[in-house]
């Protein structure tokens, strides 16, 4: 059975194609403003990579904040649900999932089956998201990757108190003017985001294993800050930004199976009726 999962996020689109539970192909690209076109284009590219046509895929499920833009998908799944399914598929011992993407940070309490038991989301605030880090990297005139790396070299903890991205940037500018080392500012930014997302995670309760996914999970500086903030080790899967798409593909598989079971039940009922 071949299925697809597509995660159309605020900043990036991720696509995975699976065959009988194994990854066939995957790809990502910026979402941009034309989200529908970006989703279509990437989906076709990933299919081509796997030497497949659309007709070969039995079911595609979309997730992410712009999932409705993937008009070719036969189903949709809420992003936290996709996260839970994707993570449990990779790390079955995961119970707390922290997903920090471009525009949203969320914490999920998951059951061993990948069911969402509870969730919390940072509301209406960019200061706990990847977009904030990008803005701060621009202010520091370094890349996000460099910002992540140098923050690990910092030995100073500088509190950032701003509750929103705009004021957060003002604080960073003040620190720059105060000739604070870039590595210390980078750490301050990561510590601030970690503090914000940790308070969201505490709402659902932190239980081992804690898995961090989303684009920000690639940021080693942030992950280190988060470890310190919650006082627990965290697990980062390979390709943490593909987990949502993977969960959507898992949902597509489940959807196909569910439909097959339903069809068999209908067939059986018809058969029983015929016999009667």
């Amino acid at each position: 059975m071949i299925v697809g999962g597509i995660d159309v996020g605020g900043k990036n689109v991720h696509v995975v194609i699976m065959k009988d539970g194994e990854m066939l192909a995957k790809g990502d690209s910026p979402t941009g403003i034309q989200k529908a076109e970006a989703a279509e284009r990437l989906y076709d590219e990933v299919l081509e990579q796997a030497s497949l046509k659309r007709a070969d895929v039995e079911r595609v499920v979309a997730t992410g904040s712009a999932s409705k833009r993937a008009a070719f998908a036969q189903g949709m799944i809420p992003d936290a649900a996709a996260d839970a399914r994707g993570v449990i598929r990779l790390i079955s011992s995961a119970r707390t999932i922290i997903d920090v993407g471009a525009e949203e940070g969320r914490a999920i309490k998951a059951s061993p089956e990948g069911k969402v038991l509870d969730f919390a989301i940072n509301e209406k605030c960019a200061a706990g998201t990847g977009t904030f880090v990008e803005a701060m990297a621009r202010a520091l005139e370094i890349s996000v990757e460099d910002m992540a790396r140098i923050s690990l070299e910092s030995t100073r903890s500088i509190p950032m108190n701003a509750q929103c991205a705009v004021f957060g940037e003002s604080e960073v500018v003040s620190l720059i003017h105060a000739k604070t080392e870039k590595r210390d500012i980078a750490r301050a930014v990561h510590d601030a985001i970690a503090g914000r997302i940790a308070s969201v995670a505490r709402i659902v309760g932190l239980e081992k294993d804690v898995v961090v996914i989303g684009g920000m999970a690639r940021n080693v500086g942030f992950v280190e800050s988060l470890r310190k903030e919650i006082g627990m080790d965290v697990v980062v899967p390979d390709d943490p930004d593909f987990v949502g798409a993977l969960g959507a593909a898992a949902a597509a598989t489940a959807g196909v199976l569910e439909e097959e079971v339903e069809a068999k039940v209908v067939e059986k009922e018809k058969y029983e009726e015929g016999k009667a």
Partner: protein, 439 residues
């Protein structure tokens, strides 16, 4: 196929008519030589309404909510209030709507802002005690203002001393009313008004109790439009009659005949706090999953009076008839009024600590057979939003799945409808395992 039979309420049009007439009466009061006063939905209207002649009241919170139901109007009024004082957004959203109307000299129900002859207010939260004082300052500080304190303690700590504390202030209030209006408070009217207050408060509570039935005869979205009459003027005979003689018997009949508020009821939801008034359609969205919001401490006890019985269950507060009481005189009326409000309005208890809210809400969730809870983290009212996250934990501890969403009861700029729906989709499909039953 629909699971249950359903139909609209026969008394629905009557409720709408009473509400509209109330706002028109207030606006036209001076044309009929009637007095106008402003106060809160909790400000013991039985007393000013007992003045000689015709008297009409404008209660501040329902007015703020009416404005809140119209996103275009609310932004206009809030911006007017913000423009004048630069109000912080965490101030009561109803209050900002109300102030904006006065600043612009506009009445949401048509015409210029109808100035009050006096203000009769009570203090239960800081917004309530300052709201109309500031409103009066916009007028130029010329409207006589009286405020009494009802912060005497939670329902389980009310004794003679607490009742005396409020009653003594009510006597001062009567003196104030007679002095500033030149009219007398008529004892016969006062006694009648207190009787009506009991009827409104107790029969609304009895109606809410009927919602323990499966299927629920009422959904919360409808209940919002029904409890409002009690927030306008619960001492009014027509309103008391509505609760006792129209709504309650009709809902009782619905229960007897298994008539559901929502035909596809498959999940009974507990709510909390005021809803985002401009977006009540989210309740209809829930119904596409067969989810019906059927209970909340706020919706029940904003006007309804309840008590805890010997088993600790939340039950309607007894009517005067059930208590075998006939009101004898002014003092008796004032004492009964204070006693009913202080002991019966469980809604006030959370002002004294999270323990009260947690205890009451978990009892309601069990008694009303709720399957889950969706809590509106209401940025527009600090009073009703307090303790909500502790309440979430308390509900989860009794095994109830809980979802929260942020919003504002009357400031659309703080409510993200698409996001709230996304959260609901997630909660309903994943946590509760529900499927859509309609589009």
């Amino acid at each position: 196929m629909a699971k249950y039979k359903t139909k609209g309420l026969d008394c629905w049009e009557r409720a709408k008519e009473l509400r509209i007439r109330y706002y028109e009466d207030y606006a036209e009061a001076h044309d009929r030589a009637a007095l106008r006063w402003e106060g809160g939905a909790w400000s013991f209207d039985a007393i000013p309404q007992a003045l000689e002649g015709k008297v009409h009241v404008l209660t501040e919170e329902p007015y703020g909510a009416s404005v809140g139901a119209d996103p275009r109007l609310q932004v206009k009024y809030q911006e007017a209030a913000e423009g004048k004082w630069g109000c912080a957004r965490d101030l009561c959203a109803y209050m900002r709507n109300y102030w904006g109307g006065i600043v612009l000299d506009e009445y949401a129900f048509g015409g210029k802002w109808p100035r009050a002859d006096f203000i009769f207010q009570n203090q239960i939260c800081c917004s309530h005690s300052k709201w109309l004082q500031v409103a009066d300052e916009i007028y130029g500080g010329t409207i006589p203002y009286f405020c009494f304190d009802v912060g005497a303690g939670p329902y389980d700590r009310i004794g003679e001393r607490q009742i005396n504390y409020v009653v003594e202030q009510l006597y001062d209030g009567i003196e104030f009313l007679e002095k500033v209006t030149g009219r007398k408070v008529v004892d016969e009217k006062l006694i009648q008004n207190v009787q009506n207050t009991y009827r409104s408060a107790c029969y609304w509570a009895k109606t809410c109790e009927l919602n323990q039935a499966v299927p629920a005869p009422l959904d919360e979205k409808t209940m919002f439009s029904l409890y409002v009459l009690g927030t306008l003027e619960k001492s009014n005979k027509e309103i008391a009659d509505f609760y006792e003689k129209e709504l309650y018997p009709e809902v009782k009949d619905r229960v007897a005949n298994n008539i559901a508020a929502v035909a596809g009821e498959q999940c009974r939801m507990l709510g909390d706090s005021q809803p985002p008034w401009g977006f009540l359609r989210i309740f209809r969205y829930l119904e596409t999953y067969g989810v019906v919001s059927i209970a909340s401490l706020y919706t029940f006890s904003l006007i309804g009076w309840f008590e805890l019985d010997e088993n600790g269950n939340v039950v309607p507060y007894p009517t005067l008839e059930e208590q075998g009481i006939t009101i004898k005189d002014r003092d008796h009326a004032l004492r009964l009024l204070a006693e009913g409000e202080l002991k019966g309005k469980l809604m006030w208890a959370p002002f004294y600590g999270a323990k009260y809210k947690n205890e009451l809400v978990t009892k309601i969730a069990k008694q009303w057979k709720c399957d889950a809870a969706i809590l509106h983290l209401n940025r527009g009212c600090e009073g009703t939003a307090q303790h909500q996250m502790e309440m979430k934990i308390a509900l989860q501890e009794i095994g109830l799945p809980v979802m929260t969403f942020e919003g504002n009861m009357a400031d659309e700029r703080e409510f993200d409808e698409a996001r709230a729906k996304r959260l609901m989709d997630l909660f309903l499909t994943e946590t509760l395992g529900l499927k859509k039953i309609a589009d």
